[in-house]
């Protein structure tokens, strides 16, 4: 699981039936200091995330477990919205001091 920023929305009409009605968002992975790292990914939303929000996401087969009741083909699902960015930053600074 990693932190990420929601940077966009993907609109797709023709898609796997299990993903119908699901919001697809473009996310940019962030490191502990909230710096962008790696390539942007397409994520399925499971928590009602929106543009610009700091979120965390799950990779692999386990990403589909977040969408209860369906077996959706996803390797990247947003599973949480971070309440406070300043808290993440202070945790990162604390980590550097140790």
């Amino acid at each position: 699981m990693q932190l990420a920023r929601v940077i966009g929305t993907v609109v797709s009409t023709v898609k796997n039936p299990s993903l119908e009605g699901r919001k697809l968002l473009v996310i940019q992975i962030l490191d502990g200091d909230l710096r962008p790292t790696g390539r942007p990914l397409v994520a399925v939303d499971s928590v009602g995330a929106g543009a610009g929000e700091l979120v965390f996401w799950c990779r692999g087969k386990e990403a589909s477990f977040a969408l209860e009741g369906i077996e959706a083909p996803t390797d990247c699902t947003i599973i949480g919205i971070v309440d406070s960015e300043s808290h993440v930053k202070s945790v990162a600074r604390e980590g550097e001091r140790k």
């Binding site: 966009g8 929305t9 796997n16 390539r39």
Partner: protein, 96 residues
Amino acid sequence: MILARVLGNVVATQKNSRYGEARIMLVQPINPDGAPRGVSMLALDSVDAGEGDIVIVVQEGWSASTASTGEAGAAIDSAIIGVVDFIQQDHEVNSV
């Protein structure tokens, strides 16, 4: 999942029997702005994607196998699971 552009399809008569009738597509991973990123790769099609389409590619075995063949457990690690109509970029983050 990643975004990619479909470059074309690969024809292979001699291949793993579990692939069935699924088409094998050559895709180029791209950034949300459409710029190519990294090396091209193969992915099985499950949504009738065509050359030039921007698509969503899942890179996980169970998802790729069930989406493209209907069953888990085939030797497939990537599949096209959606055709992108458009991408709306809401927030600028400079990717590394």
